[in-house]
């Protein structure tokens, strides 16, 4: 019996194509059962998530099985769309499935949701009678590999983008961000993203200031905060817990004297400052103030790179573990 996998994912196909191949979550079992009607196919599992659609089959003949699957998928789809499909056979299928359940093939490396999605796809196929010895063994084995990898490696730990590194640091300083006050100086795209991440993790107050007040108002209303004029932002320093600065100014905007002036009013609460402007917006000596934690783009990038290196090492360990399981 030959193993075949035919599918597409976020790396091989744009969303417009992926949605054309998508299968409703409650129809995975029915579609798997349909596969058994194809000649040469003995068992089948259909997986469909927002990032991928894949069909796993056990067929009597590798070539015939792949051809029959391609023509099955081609029904109602044009030739261009079919070009986005990839095909894997034999041990490649095992390796692919093991990587998949371990989160190594996901858009967010190491994410855990895919494990449950594969489990659900297999369960529906099993209940509809579309699987038997070969695919049962393959999927059961993949779940044990997935569990083993998550238990023995740190693949899901660490952040790999500047924005997520900033949010993780904020949580290391403040714990839960609930009740925290975020202040944005300069309504650029990157500060919008960082502020959005902070708000999604529970920060409850947002102040936006920008040279163009209109732009500050737009961003404030988009993220559910307040806009303040650029010549009045210093008054908001007393309330702020997290400051994200990304103006296009050629000289520092936030100086040590600004923070020194409000330290007592702030009762020396921790202040996390994220400077993602180039040239920098926040005077370097602000970082010397005891309760101020200043991170510029270089520092954040360094953290993200360290996480990436650590992840790469974890991926290597995962791949070795998968090799041993095949």
């Amino acid at each position: 019996m030959e193993l075949i996998c035919l599918g597409l994912n976020h790396e091989t196909a744009p969303v417009e194509v992926r949605e054309h191949f998508a299968v409703p979550a409650d129809k995975l079992g029915d579609r798997a059962k349909e596969l058994l009607e194809l000649s040469s196919v003995s068992e089948g599992v259909v997986l469909s998530t927002c990032n991928r659609m894949e069909i796993y089959v056990a067929a009597e003949n590798r070539q015939a099985g792949e051809e029959v699957l391609r023509s099955y998928l081609a029904t109602g789809r044009d030739v261009q769309e079919m070009k986005h499909l990839y095909a894997k056979t034999g041990d490649e299928v095992k390796r692919h499935l093991f990587r998949l359940v371990s989160g190594l093939d996901s858009m967010v490396l190491g994410e855990t949701e895919i494990f449950g999605q594969v489990k659900q796809a297999y369960k529906q196929a099993l209940e509809s009678g579309a699987t038997s010895g070969v695919l049962n063994r393959l999927f059961q084995k993949s779940f044990s590999v997935g569990k083993k990898i998550r238990t023995n490696t740190r693949i899901q730990v660490g952040t790999t983008s500047v924005g997520s590194a900033a949010v993780d640091l904020a949580e290391k300083i403040f714990g839960k961000l609930k009740g925290s006050h975020v202040m944005i100086i300069g309504a650029g795209e990157m500060s919008r993203q960082v502020a959005q991440s902070m708000m999604s993790r529970g920060a409850s107050h947002l102040t936006v200031t920008n040279r163009s007040f209109e732009r500050a108002q737009d961003l404030a209303s988009e993220l559910g905060g307040n806009a303040v004029p650029f010549d009045a932002w210093e008054e908001s320093l007393v309330q702020a817990d997290i400051i994200v600065s990304s103006t296009g100014a050629s000289e520092p905007v936030l100086l040590a004297v600004h923070v020194e002036a409000v330290r007592r009013k702030r009762r020396y609460r921790p202040l996390f400052l994220i400077d993602i402007a180039m040239p920098r917006d926040i005077e370097k000596t602000v970082g010397d103030i005891e309760e101020a934690y200043l991170y510029d783009l270089d520092k954040l990038q360094k953290l993200a790179n360290e996480a990436r290196v650590s992840r790469a090492e974890q991926v290597r360990i995962c791949e070795e573990m998968i090799d041993l399981e095949i």
């Binding site: 740190r154 949580e171 300083i173 020396y268 970082g287 309760e291 650590s310």
Partner: protein, 263 residues
């Protein structure tokens, strides 16, 4: 006097020391690997039970609260530190506190084992002054809370340094609790310790022969006033958490100087 207790209390003290030392070494080893040891709490519970046995045996021999020589005070302090760790650690989910507390507990227990610090044949008390007993017990409990505040202060100082230097890749950084939680715990433990210390001092003034221990009481009053000023300043105008943590550590180390004055 219970002769078996006399030999047993030394062995149990040694066992308590070994368990705390193993918790310290093992916890630090796991931390270097970036994970937390599941054994820190069980080992510290084991050490706590052994400490209880030592104190129970000494109390039995004394016929009074076992706080009559330096060795007993050291064991009682380790016991108070451990009980606060178990309470605070589980209440605030600060499992890492054990890794920082266990070396201090081991140090106090090791000191208690130094020959001459714990009477091998303790004199049985002929009379019991309840004020003296309360003074000793409350003061040592205060030391437990204030000691743990110093431990949490050290944790904050370490985390603060790492945050300032952007040194975030170590296992220690990843396992330390958030800075704001740590500084909050330092304040709460200081408040608990200060309340107990106040009670201990009041009992000390009321105990028989208080005037004969004037030096000890004066030193204790200075320590009490210093902690009071620290808390007052923090309450009235706030303090940078780093300075507060450092003050908690320095005051605790200074307060240990009161021990040699106990006659």
């Amino acid at each position: 006097m219970c002769m078996r207790c006399g030999a047993m209390d030394r062995w149990m003290l040694f066992l308590a020391l070994v368990l705390a030392a193993v918790a310290a070494v093992q916890g630090a080893g796991y931390l270097r690997l970036g994970t937390r040891s599941k054994w820190t709490l069980p080992l510290m519970i084991g050490s706590f039970i052994a400490q209880m046995f030592v104190l129970g045996a000494r109390g039995d021999m004394r016929g009074a609260c076992p706080l009559l020589d330096t060795g007993e005070i050291l064991v009682f302090s380790a016991w108070a530190l451990t009980i606060f760790y178990m309470g605070v650690g589980s209440m605030f989910r600060l499992s890492l506190l054990g890794v920082f507390t266990s070396p201090l507990v081991a140090f106090l227990l090791a000191l208690a084992l130094v020959p001459g610090l714990m009477d091998t044949e303790p004199v049985r008390a002929t009379s019991v002054d309840p004020w003296r007993e309360m003074h000793a017990a409350l003061s040592v409990m205060a030391y437990g809370a204030l000691g743990l505040a110093a431990v949490a202060g050290v944790m904050f100082i370490v985390l603060n340094r790492k945050l300032k230097d952007a040194d975030t890749s170590t296992g220690l950084f990843k396992n330390l609790p958030p800075a704001r939680e740590l500084s909050g715990i330092v304040v709460r433990l200081l408040l608990i310790g200060y309340a107990l210390l106040t009670g201990g001092l009041v009992c000390g003034v009321l105990m028989e022969g208080a005037m004969s221990a004037a030096n000890h009481l004066i030193a204790a009053l200075i320590i009490w006033a210093a902690y009071g000023i620290l808390l007052l300043v923090d309450w009235r105008r706030g303090m940078p958490p780093g300075k507060l943590s450092l003050a908690a550590l320095v005051l605790f180390v200074l307060s240990l100087l009161v021990f040699p004055m106990i006659s």
